[in-house]
């Protein structure tokens, strides 16, 4: 299994507090690598470091052979790193379809066309519709994004991330705040994406994590304390102590 995304020795401190403390992490093509850990372990910071919103103090980030350690957010995105946000982030005033069209525009490179381009726009609208169908939003294209339910917004985020045909997808708690039904739909959806790209999944829902993940890493206080196959990680005593508690919390 060759690693697509390679993170080596990543460090980030805020003052004396090391939020990310020498993290090594890889995501291979077609793999779902889940990152779990208690609140405040630094999961979202790690995602932000990989996405480029926060600059690391030390360490390297490679996507395939490209060194992205110093690249700004938009260049990492163009290189094939797409993300969803823990707190839903769309363009609320745009229609659902226009959100995806914008994402397609981003994937297509700079668009300095000051005049309308009906043909290119039609093609983008069609592709947007196909992406919406893939995440189950085909009937909602004309609604304003602000009017979607929480679960639908998460699905829209996913459609926007997929528009770029990313090589690695960073999903920051895609199940957060969704109802049981929406959550199940999201799990199926993510399972269906596996073949298309590598996925780094941050998630609190243990059922989902153990259903989806090929590998699980446990982040505690900025360090990865265990990494391996789900069953192996679940059995790890250090993990049980730090995170899962004594209860067999992850049993599906």
């Amino acid at each position: 299994m060759s690693a697509l995304l390679q993170v080596r020795g990543l460090r980030k401190s805020y003052g004396a507090l090391a939020v990310t403390d020498g993290v090594d992490l890889t995501v291979a093509a077609g793999e779902i690598h889940a990152l779990i850990g208690p609140n405040g372990a630094g999961k979202t910071t790690l995602i932000s470091l990989i996405a480029g919103e926060v600059r690391a103090d030390a360490g390297t980030i490679h996507l395939a052979d490209t060194d992205l350690t110093l690249a700004p957010v938009h260049r990492r995105a163009r290189a094939g790193l797409a993300r969803s946000f823990q707190i839903t982030s769309t363009i609320p005033a745009f229609s659902v379809r226009e959100n995806v069209v914008l994402a397609l525009q981003g994937a297509g490179g700079p668009s300095f066309r000051l005049w309308p381009a009906p043909r290119a726009e039609r093609a983008r609208a069609e592709r947007a519709q196909a992406l919406l169908a893939r995440v189950g939003l085909e009937g909602r294209g004309d609604h304003p994004a602000a009017a979607l339910s929480h679960g639908e917004k998460r699905a829209l985020e996913l459609a926007m991330a997929l528009a770029a045909e990313p090589r690695v997808l960073l999903l920051d708690e895609p199940m957060a705040g969704t109802g049981p039904e929406e959550g199940r739909a999201m799990v199926d959806l993510i399972a269906g994406l596996k073949t298309a790209c590598g996925i780094l999944l941050v998630e609190h829902d243990m059922d989902a994590v153990f259903r989806l993940a090929d590998r699980v890493s446990v982040l505690v206080a900025g360090r990865i304390i265990a990494s391996g196959a789900p069953a192996q990680v679940r059995a790890d005593p250090a993990v049980r102590a730090a995170y899962l508690g004594d209860e067999p919390g992850g049993t599906p």
Binding site: A51, E53, P72, V73, H74, R75, A77, R78, A82, R83, F85, S89, T90, I91, P92, A93, F94, E98, V101, L102, A103, Q105, G106, A107, P110, S111, F112, R113, L114, W115, P116, A117, A120, E121, M160, A163, A164
Partner: protein, 311 residues
């Protein structure tokens, strides 16, 4: 839909004004249209891209001085002077924008204000072109050698034509894929970056275009008054333009016509015409017209704000 109706109604009203107005009233309405053009250019970046530029009067003034200085140097024709005025203002916007757009929010407001004041003091120090006292134009610009702009009626329609053209262009650009990036980055810049788009160059191009349109309005203003002075570039006037845009947006939203690109720019036209004509009308009644104008503005913002919150 209502937004488009509002915009077309405004243009239609401006087209029939000359039928019932004497030369004095006509010149006031023409002047209001020139400010509407500047307001549209400001709203293109303010409402369209979320960039609160506090130096727009400088861009307008550079256009005005462009016409004035060229005329002083013997180039009287609008076909040369107007594009030159637009290019000068657009270039100033590009250069200052390249720096200003590295900042956000209040910092952007302050730095555009600072650049505007710089231009103001440069205009004051141009002793060859009147310095503090300003510069009187020998006459209005000619068009291909013809003195058409001398007629108030022709000048009125030329201004209206350019206003419609500029508004239409700004609307088309905001609706294009380019404009989509501007509008999206205004709402959620972080998201736009995560999609692989750096909004900086988009904003810079938009700011340059706004500068060119503001320069055009300045060129028209210089011709209307046949005079340019540093006061054209003062920060008071930049503030007035922002008031026009904001009040116009409030008024349009209160009329239920604030939606979409047409609503935005229609609001700017409405705001500029409203503020200019109200100022003129109130100044006729009392020299303390601001006592009436201020509360009216507050009332409008309250109304528009309430309506906006309910929607």
């Amino acid at each position: 839909m209502r937004a488009l109706v509002l915009l077309l109604a405004l243009f239609a009203a401006l087209a029939v004004v000359p039928l019932g107005a004497d030369t004095y009233v006509l010149s006031i309405v023409t002047r209001a249209m020139i400010f509407a053009l500047a307001a549209v250019s400001l709203d293109f970046v303010l409402g369209g891209a979320g960039l609160v530029s506090f130096g727009h009067a400088a861009l307008m003034g550079i256009g005005a001085y462009g016409v004035g200085i060229l005329m002083e140097e013997g180039t009287r024709d609008a076909l040369i002077a107007f594009p030159a005025a637009m290019a000068a203002a657009g270039l100033f916007a590009l250069v200052t924008g390249a720096v200003s757009l590295k900042t956000r929010g209040v910092y952007f407001i302050m730095i555009t204000l600072a650049f505007g004041q710089m231009a103001f003091f440069v205009a004051q120090s141009l002793s060859a072109y009147g310095g503090d006292d300003g510069l009187s134009l020998a006459a209005r610009s000619t068009v291909a050698g013809q003195r058409w702009l001398k007629s108030p009626l022709t000048f009125h329609y030329v201004t209206l034509g350019l206003l419609i053209l500029a508004t239409g262009l700004c609307a088309l650009i905001l609706a294009s894929p380019f404009g989509r990036v501007l509008r999206a980055a205004k709402e959620n810049e972080r998201r736009v970056r995560a999609l692989g788009i750096d909004p900086y160059l988009y904003r810079l191009v938009a700011y340059g275009l706004a500068g060119a349109f503001a320069g055009l309005s300045g060129a028209l203003l210089a011709n209307l008054t046949e005079f340019v002075s540093p006061a054209f570039l003062s920060w008071h006037r930049s503030g007035e333009l922002i008031v026009m845009v904001v009040a116009g947006a409030m008024a349009a939203s209160a009329l239920g016509a604030g939606g979409g690109v047409a609503g935005r720019l229609g609001g700017a036209v409405l705001g500029a015409l409203g503020v200019m004509l109200l100022e003129e009308g109130l100044a006729h009644l009392t020299e303390h017209w601001r006592i009436v104008f201020g509360p009216l503005l507050v009332l409008l913002v309250l109304l528009g704000g309430l309506k906006g919150r309910r929607a």
